[in-house]
């Protein structure tokens, strides 16, 4: 079940579209935020509220890389390794995250602090390598800078 605040938020989103189905993607975002990830309970809540079959909701959600199908760490690191970032050292950063925080691509660090997702270009190629931590961009990364930034996310 959604909280009443979330229900109101979805109701507001709904008014931007001519039908309920079009509100599905934004509603899944709200569910992900409210439930932490897309658990079976989260899918039920979306399906009930928009009156769309649960199988359809799941089918749509699993198509998109940014909808989370399993529990996440407290902070989400989205690190780009596409070509512009790769040629400027992004792979070393992936290794560094593994050694320093024990987090591998697609996984969560043992202490539950970080999740790591490898991204396909986040539009920061001119200041590569780059990542998003939660909603914040960080670029021109080196191992040292990466560590300094991550120390702020406890």
């Amino acid at each position: 079940m959604f909280s009443s605040a979330a229900k109101q938020e979805i109701e507001d989103i709904r008014t931007k579209y001519p039908n309920a189905r079009a509100a599905l993607l934004p509603t899944i975002y709200v569910a992900q935020r409210e439930f932490g990830w897309l658990s079976s309970e989260a899918y039920d809540a979306v399906a009930d509220l928009l009156n769309v079959p649960k199988a359809t909701v799941r089918g749509v959600a699993t198509f998109y890389a940014m909808y989370k199908q399993k529990p996440m760490g407290r902070h989400l690191i989205q690190l780009c390794t596409n070509v512009s970032c790769m040629i400027l050292g992004a792979e070393r950063l992936v290794d560094f995250l593994k050694i320093t925080y024990g987090v591998e691509p697609g996984g969560v660090s043992p202490d539950g602090r970080f999740s790591l997702v490898i991204m396909e270009c986040i539009g920061a190629c001119g200041t590569a390598p780059a990542m998003l931590v939660n909603d914040d961009f960080h670029d021109n990364l080196t191992e040292k800078k990466l560590q300094e930034i991550l120390e702020k996310y406890t």
């Binding site: 899944i28 998109y64 512009s84 396909e120």
Partner: protein, 420 residues
């Protein structure tokens, strides 16, 4: 050159409506709303504006088709999915100059008699979402959006729709599916979106940068605008340069600026004085070029004559330290990951190509692998449902065409011959 699209972005408050107006913003809207819709389309035609999303399709032509369709309401969709790797040209408009885009959309909406607009924004741009929403609210508050805009009896509603991490949603029919609340898989054409688009209504999809040209076109008129750039492809263009140059970043330059000048004059040449090895001129889907092929004018008409494409204007510069087998492998990983799975040649072909490139890179390549890749790509080209699959195939073909010896050496030496 005086900037048009990136005007005022050094101003830290450039996203605020007051600052935008102070810099002359929202002056074109009054002029455009005083014109007949057809007059606006005529100006765009005189301007010779081509879409900046990658294909370079003439904007006035697309608009004419949509306008001729008798069905209402009509929709105007702004493609802000910016997913082509190497591309970061729309982001500065979205984050720093959102009102330029909004003004462009109101003008376009008027030309098309569209009442509803959506900005399809990629999920990877969370900051842009807040900035756009705030800017849209300011425009509603000042009667620039909504009903009876500026008392001219025109209605235009605008909202942001956030994507969720799928490159294919940049393809316009996949974008429409995604906006309707479905998986982003392309639709068969025809019918074209201009007749049967989102919610089955006539729909125009244009790129962020395309729509952001509109205020200037209306301000100075199509003919004056067309003096910028090349005759077949006028206007300013935002180039985004990444990789091994001294000064990577965004540069607004006339269409048709030579690739060599972009790299050596504007971006200060190759970083650390190293040797240039290869350039991808228009985003990862466009054919790679060797150093002796960079004297090409960067526009939609000339680039194909020089063996590549303008694409999104995303220039990726690689110096001699880069292993091109590795780059090609990374590119194919991307295409395999982003293939929507709808058609077999792309779904299977991208996986096969990625696997073969991976084993060559890992020193396990086999005699005949290069020919196998050429056979696989030939079987994809022209047989996929949408251009993503074609792009993947042509990436491999062009890397082999220009850099075959490097692939052969990897196979022979059974290891990476560039980085050991």
């Amino acid at each position: 050159m005086e900037t048009i699209l990136l005007k005022n972005i050094q101003n830290p408050n450039s996203a605020d409506i007051a600052e935008y107006k102070k810099a002359g913003g929202y002056a074109s809207i009054r002029k455009a709303l005083g014109m007949e819709p057809q007059q606006v389309i005529d100006e765009v035609k005189k301007a010779g504006l081509r879409g900046r999303g990658g294909a370079g399709f003439p904007v006035a032509m697309k608009w004419t088709f949509a306008s001729a369709d008798p069905k209402f309401p009509k929709y105007l969709l702004c493609n802000a999915d910016e997913g082509e790797p190497g591309t970061f040209k729309d982001r500065p408009i979205l984050e720093k100059n959102p009102h330029l885009l909004i003004e462009g959309m109101i003008i376009s909406g008027h030309a098309l008699k569209a009442e509803y607009g959506y900005i399809y924004l990629r999920g990877e741009y969370p900051a842009a979402k807040h900035i756009l929403n705030a800017a849209i609210q300011q425009a509603y508050d000042t009667n620039l959006l909504g009903e009876n805009i500026l008392g001219k009896g025109i209605t235009f509603h605008l909202a942001v729709h956030q994507g969720a991490g799928a490159y294919i949603c940049g393809e316009e029919t996949a974008l429409i599916e995604s906006l309707e609340g479905d998986k982003g898989q392309p639709r068969i054409k025809p019918p074209f979106p201009v007749n049967v688009g989102v919610f089955s209504k006539p729909t125009v999809v244009n790129n962020v940068e395309t729509l952001s040209n509109l205020p200037y076109i209306i301000e100075v008129g199509g003919e004056t605008y067309a003096k910028i750039g090349t005759p077949d492809c006028p206007g300013p263009k935002i180039f985004c340069i990444s990789g091994h140059v001294e000064k990577p970043g965004i540069y607004e330059l006339p269409m048709g600026t030579k690739l060599r000048d972009i790299i050596y004059t504007h971006c200060g040449g190759i970083k650390g004085g190293k040797k240039l090895k290869a350039v991808i001129p228009g985003g990862i889907s466009t054919p790679v070029l060797p150093p002796d092929k960079i004297d090409c004018p960067m526009d939609f008409v000339n680039m194909p004559k020089h063996g590549s494409m303008l694409g999104s204007g995303a220039v990726i510069v690689m110096d001699e330290s880069v292993c091109l087998v590795k780059v090609c492998h990374r590119a194919l990983k991307f295409f395999e990951h982003e293939s929507c799975g709808k058609c077999t040649p792309c779904r299977e072909g991208t996986g096969w190509l990625r696997a073969i490139l991976g084993r060559i890179e890992n020193g396990e390549g086999m005699e005949g692998d290069i020919d196998t890749m050429l056979a696989v790509s030939a079987n994809m080209l022209g047989k996929t449902f949408c251009p993503l699959g074609d792009g993947a195939a042509s990436v491999v073909q062009n890397f082999i065409k220009h850099f075959r010896p490097e692939f052969e050496e990897h196979i022979r030496a059974k290891k990476c011959v560039v980085n050991g």
